[in-house]
Amino acid sequence: MSGASSDASTLANPRELDLGLPVSYLAEGRSVASWLFTTDHKRIAILYALSITFFFFIGGAAATLVRLELFTPEGNIVGADTYNKLFSLHGIVMVWFFLIPSIPTTMGNFLLPLMIGARDLAFPKLNLISWYLNMAGGLLTLAAVLAGGIDTGWTFYVPYSTVFSNTFVTLAVLGVFVSGFSTIATGVNFIATVHYLRAPGMTWFRLPLFVWAMYTTSLIFVLATPVLALTLVLVIAERTFNLPIFDPARGGDPILFQHLFWFYSHPAVYIMILPAMGVISEVITCYARRRIFGYSFMVYALVAIAVIGFFTWGHHMFTSGMSPFAALVFSFLSFIVAVPSAIKVFNWTATLYRGQIGFESPMLYALGFLGLFTMGGLTGLFLASVPIDVHVQDTYFVVAHFHYIMVGASVSAYFAGLHFWWPKVTGRMYPESWARFAALLMFFGFNLTFFPQFIAGYLGMPRRYYTYPPEFQVWNVLSSSGAAVLAAAYLMPLGYLTWSLFFGGRALNDPWNATGLEWRTTSPPPRQNFFGNPQVLAPPYDYHPEATPPGDEPRIAEKGALT
């Protein structure tokens, strides 16, 4: 916030002007223990970043094998059981150990206190515990994989998972169960932080949209995850202790499982997309040099998505034999929840109007997000229409749809945020041309991978098929080729970002000339986040005076070290 009144002389970059200020959070202790027992939200964010990167590449490797196998209609690289275990591994790891923690636990952890002018999260120790819970869950699931794998798919549908599968279901489910407590802890922590630790002047309607996104995501964390935990306990109880709960042979109801599971897992989709929306709101305003268009509508839209998202779960079950009237109610609510998403897209577009638009790599990712999210959202309308859903349910159309949202949109936003805040987090600049190239490659690779899947699905190719009728091969070959491009695009940031840690140029405190409290401290910030006490005097995204268009300011501040 340009109105943030911090004593300007305390914001010096110590490398350029040594005022004897505290060192950055990275320099406070270099031992392994200083990382593993830290309560600094910024260090915990780094721990999370390392673990989700690890899981991202595990899930990605499984996806690569799946796409390789689908190159031809027959089975030739792995066996049917291995194939089933691979797509299950891909789904479980990507959903629970990459996507759900991705933006909240890395950028959320790092930036939430910085953006509201706090010294740390409300419960720093709980924050550390939540990382350990997340790791414990992830390792339990990995143990299940090493022991022989799990073949139920990420949805664990009963009675297959409880009675029929001969794989390590209990162990993997236990892993997901444990990681659930990690997300609940994070949610509680974020909610308390936003309520109690805002700096003077940081009113609710001056919160950056990223903070609002974290807040609404945390509400879903806290309200939905216990339902998942309960459901998974019931699965373990039936499988391990032979209690008749879902098994229809003993009077149970397998559809009950689906209701419980989707009551969590549909809101979980919004857990994956709301943080992405927050990141995009920060990035687009900065590179368009514009105030966000319709700030209050953007806030209401986030809240509306989080609330209505709780009442649409039934649209996953239109073909399960649900009453036609229940199906229509869920269909209606699914159309309604699309309205706030549409509003957000229009507002981002309108934010570009009369801006001074720059095309640095974070902005390229953000513009890619806009296109992919629009595609993913609109194909959601097809699935919300009952007659069309009956045709494309459980086909590659659904696979393409949710990858457009979860990978196209969420992962693009993740990379947008990663590049945008990289200088703040690490104090280093990455090679911009490499980053731009990776952004473009990711966009084209993504579309080549997933657009053909819409067609294959509409033509009738079911998902989770190890072998498939040969007429679908052309679409699968296109998709698999795209996956190769996408894999290369995902590996590139791993390379050049790592390179930048050692050889990148030193970052200025505010390299993008952005508003926002996180830029009003050094890069990287000290343990205490701020020198002096931040105070907020202006609304967010104060890139130009109201009613006056933004001028052509330089993106890289040329004001020296003092911002």
């Binding site: 049917a80 034999g321 309108a350 079911p462 998902r463 009728p469």
Partner: protein, 362 residues
């Protein structure tokens, strides 16, 4: 006519009354969505070029006051469009929900990893279903193990088959031909091989095909029905409170009678026990069963006997097919795994590409 908007190779085969309706909504939605994508992408690209950094485009005064009008305007517009699509899709769904009264009834049983179907006259098929064109067909689905889903892309038809529950759906084919039948609910190892075909025939061909099906011995089914209708099951079922011997698996066994004698359970013994129950009472039981003399015809006694011979505990629609999971077949057009030694043991109907009626030429 809207179909012409999509090139043929991007269109799935459309062979049912429902398919045409679904396609109409799909194309409508596709047009609306394309318009929105073009609008958004068009505006983003236009703004990105026109208002790129340092461009000479006039920025002018920022219109602050219109912001709220814009917001309300496009919120209302999207709400209107989305509710309209919902209304359209919902009306099609409601209109097509109930099958016509005269629909042909087909029972479908899913099991790992095959589809079993049974028509109204008792014709049974594995991974195949023959139906006449133009006639409504009502499907009653269930599963023997896990959840499966019965999917015929050409009919835009999908319904889950749930264990121990019955679901139903219906279709009316409009074109003769052979169409994919696919399982779309993940069900384990050979989920992707749980595929078959729907063969839509001209009504006269269908009638001919029906006559070529082997006569089925319906006696045991009749017996099963009589067993409960005439009250036998009230005492002889396992859960009954009345002290009566269970009839499960007793065929061919010798049973101890009152007074140290034994009897072998065969047609004569069963018939005698129904007509003169007090004569040879099984040891340890009271002679409480009433005589059915004059209450059952000979045919009905035969049916009951057939049912008991079959085994009252083992008899059910699913079990009578009695196929091992390993015998499931490949999709039409796929080659079976080379390592299948028992391939020749399969019934002709299970061999891909074989005429569905068996060896007899049509």
């Amino acid at each position: 006519m809207l179909d012409a908007l999509i090139p043929a190779f991007l269109r799935p085969e459309s062979a049912s009354v429902q398919a045409a309706k679904v396609d109409a909504i799909f194309i409508g939605l596709l047009l609306i969505s394309s318009a929105i994508v073009l609008l958004v992408v068009g505006l983003v690209v236009t703004f990105a070029i026109r208002y790129r950094r340092g461009s000479s485009a006039k920025r002018g005064e920022m219109p602050t006051i219109v912001s709220r009008e814009f917001e309300v305007g496009w919120t209302a517009a999207t709400l209107f469009i989305f509710v309209f699509i919902f209304w359209w899709a919902a009306s099609v769904e409601i209109g097509a929900f109930s099958p016509p009264k005269d629909a042909i009834e087909i029972h479908v049983v899913g099991k790992q990893w095959m589809w079993k179907t049974q028509g109204p006259s008792g014709t049974r098929e594995i991974n195949e279903l023959h139906v006449p064109v133009g006639a409504p067909v009502r499907l009653l689905l269930t599963s023997q193990d896990v959840i499966h889903s019965f999917y015929v892309p050409a009919f835009r038809l999908k319904r889950d088959a749930l264990p121990y529950q019955q679901t139903e759906t219906w279709f009316q084919a409009t074109k003769t031909g052979t169409y994919h039948l696919l399982c779309t609910e993940y069900c384990g190892t050979d989920h992707s091989r749980m595929v078959g075909r729907i063969i839509v025939m001209e009504p006269q061909d269908y009638a001919q095909w029906l006559t070529r099906q082997p006569e089925r011995d319906g006696l045991a089914e009749l017996g099963e029905r009589l067993f409960s209708e005439r009250g036998c099951s009230g005492c002889h079922n396992a859960g009954s409170k009345v002290h009566a011997p269970s009839l499960a698996g007793i065929w061919g066994q010798s049973v101890p009678l009152e007074g140290g004698r034994t009897a072998t359970v065969d047609e004569a013994y069963v018939r005698d026990s129904i007509l003169q129950p007090e004569r040879d009472v099984v040891a340890g039981y009271e002679p409480i069963m009433p005589s059915y003399e004059g209450k059952l015809s000979d045919g009905e006694i035969q049916a009951l006997t057939a049912y008991i011979r079959h085994g009252t505990d083992r008899f059910d629609l699913i079990g009578s097919l009695n196929l091992a999971p390993a015998q499931n077949i490949c999709a039409p057009g796929q080659t079976p795994p080379e390592s299948a030694p028992n391939q020749s043991l399969r019934s002709p109907v299970m061999v891909p590409g074989a005429p569905a009626s068996g060896d007899t030429p049509p």
